[in-house]
């Protein structure tokens, strides 16, 4: 009888301990909730994350603000070079890094990366009224200067026209679906897919769990807002 009591006590106390597990070794989640501030490293990635003064707008910005609000905090945006931000994140100087963070980022081994919250696509599109090309050979395709999709177009023997910013007066364009359709172009075909994630400090598992559960709940809403398949 006494033994059974002991086992019950052990199980109950373990369960009680497990209630707020997993815990953060550096207590990120507790600090965000108590202090009311979430420090997010950000770099511009229109239309997902766009700087407005010290504030940020866009699908990803709204998502992070929502997550902070749910934990009784507001977002303190830290703008700068992403490499520096990742280094700061690794040493717990930031709580989160956002801005075109790929699920396959090379920082994956040094910081925590969430499951992808959105699969965004890079598409080929054309101006309304223009006949969509069936083959890219010798077709002039306009892209945003520095967009890696240029390589794919070159591989298909298209002529890449790099410009900044990408305007609405091109015949054939390629770029992020959400952005290209936002400029009024008509979808032709999908060229590439990229899984987007957010990065958090390494080993802060309570914070990571809270963020990933939140992202899972918003999964369909985010896809809709971005005009992508859920």
């Amino acid at each position: 009888m006494l033994r059974r009591m002991q086992i019950v006590l052990l199980v109950v106390s373990l369960a009680a301990l497990a209630c707020d597990a997993p815990r953060d070794p550096e207590e990120t989640l507790t600090r965000v909730r108590r202090g009311g501030v979430l420090n997010a490293g950000a770099s511009e990635d229109p239309p997902f994350l766009v700087r407005r003064g010290d504030d940020a707008v866009g699908i990803e910005a709204a998502l992070i603000k929502d997550f902070a609000a749910r934990n009784g905090a507001h977002v303190h945006w830290v703008w700068g070079a992403q490499e520096t931000q990742f280094r700061a994140l690794e040493k717990y100087q930031l709580d989160l890094v956002a801005g075109a963070v790929s699920a396959k980022t090379l920082w994956k081994k040094r910081v925590a990366v969430t499951r992808p919250y959105l699969e965004s696509t890079t598409i080929l599109a054309c101006r309304r009224g223009v006949v969509p090309p069936t083959d890219l050979r010798d077709v002039e395709v306009a892209i945003e200067d520095g967009d890696p999709i240029g390589a794919e177009i070159e591989k298909q023997h298209g002529n890449v026209k790099r410009m900044h910013p990408l305007d609405v007066n091109q015949n054939v364009v390629a770029g992020n679906r959400t952005r290209i359709l936002g400029l009024g172009y008509v979808f032709v075909e999908t060229l590439q897919r990229e899984k987007r994630s957010l990065a958090t400090a390494p080993g802060e598992n309570a914070f990571l769990q809270a963020l990933e559960v939140f992202l899972a709940q918003r999964h369909d809403a985010i896809a809709n807002a971005a005009g992508e398949q859920p």
Binding site: P22, E27, V111, T114, P202, A206, E212
Partner: protein, 313 residues
Amino acid sequence: MKARPRVELPPDVEATFARAMRLEWLSLVLMISTAVLVYATISHSQAMKAVFVEDALSLIPPIAFLITGRIRWRTPNERFPYGYHRSVTIGYLCSAVALLSLGLLILFEALMTLVHREHPSIGVLGLFGHQIWIGWLAYPVLLYSIACEYTMGRMKQPLAKELHDKTLAADGRMNRADWMTGVAAMLGMTGIAFGWWWADAVTAALIAFEIVRDGWENLKEVLTDIMDEVPTKADEEERADWAAKLRDHVRGLDWVRDADVRLREEGNLFTGEVYVVPRTLDRAEERGAELIRSARALDWRFYELELVLVEKL
């Protein structure tokens, strides 16, 4: 060239061997299933990675046993006049080297994790519409792994002893190390859940140390076999007095003045020379053949003993 005769096993040993083959097939299937499940829950945990590597490695001994099980009893021929029994040693060598090298690798990684103070990140997995922390999923997976390893280890041990099979014995020992590893990994995962980031790497280091020790022991054993060490026991509980048993038996024969033996192991079998100082050379061929037959009756492991008549020992 005169090849050795085919190995004739007593029916009960034959039956035990068939049972061991079936057990190793089952073991192979179970180990693959645990390795797959553990892989799905590794996340960034060093301890889970160590468990996965150990589970994946524990596929080698059953595979080695199953492959050599088909080769080892083949009839000796012109090309391999001494038969195929040494294939067992090759299988054993492979698993020992794999254990040792991968153990060292995990040990190094775990220590580096501690030195760099890297915190293991473990995220969430969607399962049947629920979002579950992967750390919690590791528990049932590890429990399943522990149950499989424990049962397999317990079942292989007596068979290894009966068959005098060191691959099978090493396999059983590896299963034992594996289930202990599973328990350690559960403790490591509990540590992570409580926010003790170091618990994971410490556990991984302990597991790796166990793998290295296991690999080292097996490697020593197989190297001494290759060096033609005198027959040693395959299992801790087995008796290793075959040489004395055979010598006493030969000395007891009426035409033998004095005798001694020189034995080595070949897989499950023992072979070597029997040196006899005869009292008489009368009917020597007949008596010699009778001696070898009676030795085989003494223990089925004695195979192709050579009778050497000498003047003195």
